[in-house]
Amino acid sequence: MYQVLLTRRYLTSKVMPLLASLAVVLCTAMVLIVWSVMGGFLVKLMNSGRVLVGDVAITWPNTGFAHYDELVTMLEKDPGVEAATPMIETYGLLSLPSGRTEYVVVKGVEPAGYGAVTGYQESLWWRPLDAPMRKDRLREDERLDPGMHTIMERALANGRTLTRPDPVTAKPLDAIVMGIEIGDNYRTSTGVYYPVRTRRIRSDGTSEFLSIRPITEGVVKLNVLPMDSQGRVLEMASTSLPIANEFKTGMYEVDNRTVLVPLHTLQKLLRMDPAAKVAEGAVAGETVIDENGQEKFVIPKVEGTDPARVTNVIVRGKGISSDELRFRCAAIYKQFAEKHAGRVPAAPYVEERPGGQRELIRDSGSIAIRTWEDLNATFISAVKKETGLVLFIFSFVSLTAVFLVLAIFWSMVSEKTKDVGVLRSMGASRTGVAAVWLSYGLAIGLVGSLLGGTLAYTIVTNINPIHDWMGEALGLQIWDPKIYYFTDIPSKVELDKAIIVMSGGALSSVVGALIPALRAAFLHPVKALRFE
């Protein structure tokens, strides 16, 4: 009881412990801010990374697999599946209106189905905007311009259907939607994009002025490398596609490398569309001598139709985790593969582990069924490791709080030596005396970590206004959207993390108080009373 009394009194009557408490405040706040910002960064990247991939992808790259419509129907019958859609993913070369050529990831999608499975439609950039983005205080974004309203509405509609009307006939033409960072756009420090639409760079380095707006008049040329159903590379195929819109997922690697085209366009380019199936052995165009000695061309016998193929079927779950969805997809795909045995890739094997754990075992002949986390595993684990490393470094730096508390408590124990002797003379045990200092350390730690938590919460929830203020008042811009891509500093305060950090803060104070507490406990009562 006297521990509580003395702790309360020491806490309110001494300046030194306030310094110790301040150290805990700063260390707690520092670690929590770093964790929240890095955690927010990770969450933002993960959310951005899953915008165009759905929850689960069933993938057989290169040659693709047939009968996908049937698989989509089977998947959509499952109550855990919200929607499923076919998709082709391949690589290509894109020639931009400016003459620049970029290497891109080409996704062939059915716009409606793709919109149902992914956040694609929300990611379309060119659309009418009622309110400016947070940093666009000067309303420089041309999407806000009432004069551009019609163009933006049309671009949004075009983006949703992956078409753009022919300027002469008004007939919808298949069109392309590109990542916002591929095109010739200029990104300002407020996160606003200006389309650079008046310049074309010639091969000799000179330039000419054009007066075209990419989303209304821009046309790109897409080159892809088709393969036949056996995986043999065929001649490069090209097509010109008008630009319907551009998208921004928030993940630079996606927005800088991905383009979307209608599925049937890409199927045609890659020769994955339905084709006549001919008898084996006959080669079209070859000349043979018939039984009458006449030379004639071989006309292969058509024996049916080779169905269209896709490389992916992507799925969006409903009320279940992506991991659970993966196993459901695997079970459905197994039925599908059994039905089309020999014509589609085999299903992966589900292995039951002790304790209810399951794992999908895939060999080289079986299809890949992966969650969006699996698809982004490399970059997620890289950011997680980076977060862990930064957190470790800052936590290590925060150990200074332990030594600061130790130094302050050591000096306080020296100052209070006589009091220790008095307490022992009144019957206080060694444990009781140690408890005075430990509870004092805990109190300082609790006060410090609570204040630190509050400080961190205040800073993290206002990190962008604080950053803006620093930019305006001090000319400091640490987070430049031109470099970091995100317009705002991402952050996320999570209660469990806050509890861990604050408990750590309180614990560090107790640890710091431990050695001085033991020193006080083992002071000889008589020597303590005679201490001068």
């Binding site: 009194r9 009091d419 003379s425 009144m426 019957g427 008589v526």
Partner: protein
């Protein structure tokens, strides 16, 4: 026949100052009866405070064996006479006693109501200090951050332990208030020690020493830091309270006037009691 509350037998204590051993108590022996006030009179450095600390369980005496010799000396330290080889441990010429050989279990120590302090566990010794004895120091030793009332209550908290204190909190507070009123500080409960005079601080220290109703009050120069008039008042107070409560009291002092007011006076010279 009166019963002794505390018995000190053949007590030795040596302090080490650097590389030098300084013997402070050299076989001190005394006994205090229940309800008796004993003054221990002695010059500075005679071992009075050390004796009080040992009686109060604040320190542990040296084992008597440490003052003994391993083997019997051949020549008497006092008279130079030859010691006989017999088992007698006295010098035949001058009668000086020699302690040597193995230490008997009951040799020397402090007995409180029949309990040997040196045999007590650390916890039992804490309890002894908290409940059976009360200390009053020359320099008051109040806790400066606490108020007058809290200083007295701290004695109850430390002495009783958390559970016992919580169960008897009301009575402890009432007792502290009553004691402070008794020592004339009922109106200064919320004051800090720094706001009190020397005499007032000593009154608070007396109240603190008595808050757990100890059987024995050990006062170490209670008036040593006060002027004669204030010191006299403090002594009056101590004796009044002792008469009321019938507690035993040991007062250590170098002042003969203070000693004279006790039931009995014992002189301590060179670490030994002289009657």
């Amino acid at each position: 026949m009166a019963t002794p509350i505390i018995q000190v037998t053949n007590l030795y204590k040596t302090y080490r100052l650097g590389k030098v051993d300084v013997p402070v108590l050299r076989g001190a022996t005394l006994s205090v009866e229940e309800g008796e006030t004993v003054a221990i009179l002695g010059a500075s450095g005679s071992g009075k405070s050390t004796l009080l600390h040992l009686m109060g369980g604040l320190d542990r005496a040296d084992r008597p064996g440490q003052a003994r010799r391993r083997t019997k000396p051949e020549v008497c330290d006092a008279c130079g006479g030859t010691l006989t080889a017999s088992k007698d441990d006295k010098c035949p010429a001058c009668g000086t006693s020699y302690l040597y050989g193995p230490v008997p279990m009951d040799a020397g120590g402090v007995l409180f109501r029949g309990q040997v302090l040196s045999m007590m566990s650390a916890g039992a010794l804490d309890q002894y200090r908290g409940r059976s004895v009360g200390f009053v120091f020359q320099f008051y030793h109040l806790l400066p951050e606490l108020t007058v009332l809290q200083n007295v209550l701290a004695g109850a908290m430390a002495g009783l332990g958390p559970i016992a204190y919580l169960t008897s909190r009301r009575s402890a507070v009432a007792r502290a208030r009553e004691l402070l009123a008794r020592v004339g500080l009922g109106h200064r409960l919320s004051h800090r020690p720094s706001q009190l005079s020397g005499g007032e601080r000593q009154r608070v220290a007396i109240a603190r020493g008595l808050v757990n109703t100890p059987a024995l009050l050990l006062a170490d120069e209670p008036t040593g830091n006060l002027d004669r008039k204030t010191g006299g008042t403090i002594l009056d107070l101590l004796h009044e309270i002792r008469r009321e409560t019938r507690q035993s009291m040991v007062i250590v002092t170098h002042d003969e006037h203070t000693a004279q007011r006790a039931d009995r006076t014992i002189s301590l010279v060179d670490g030994r009691v002289q009657r």
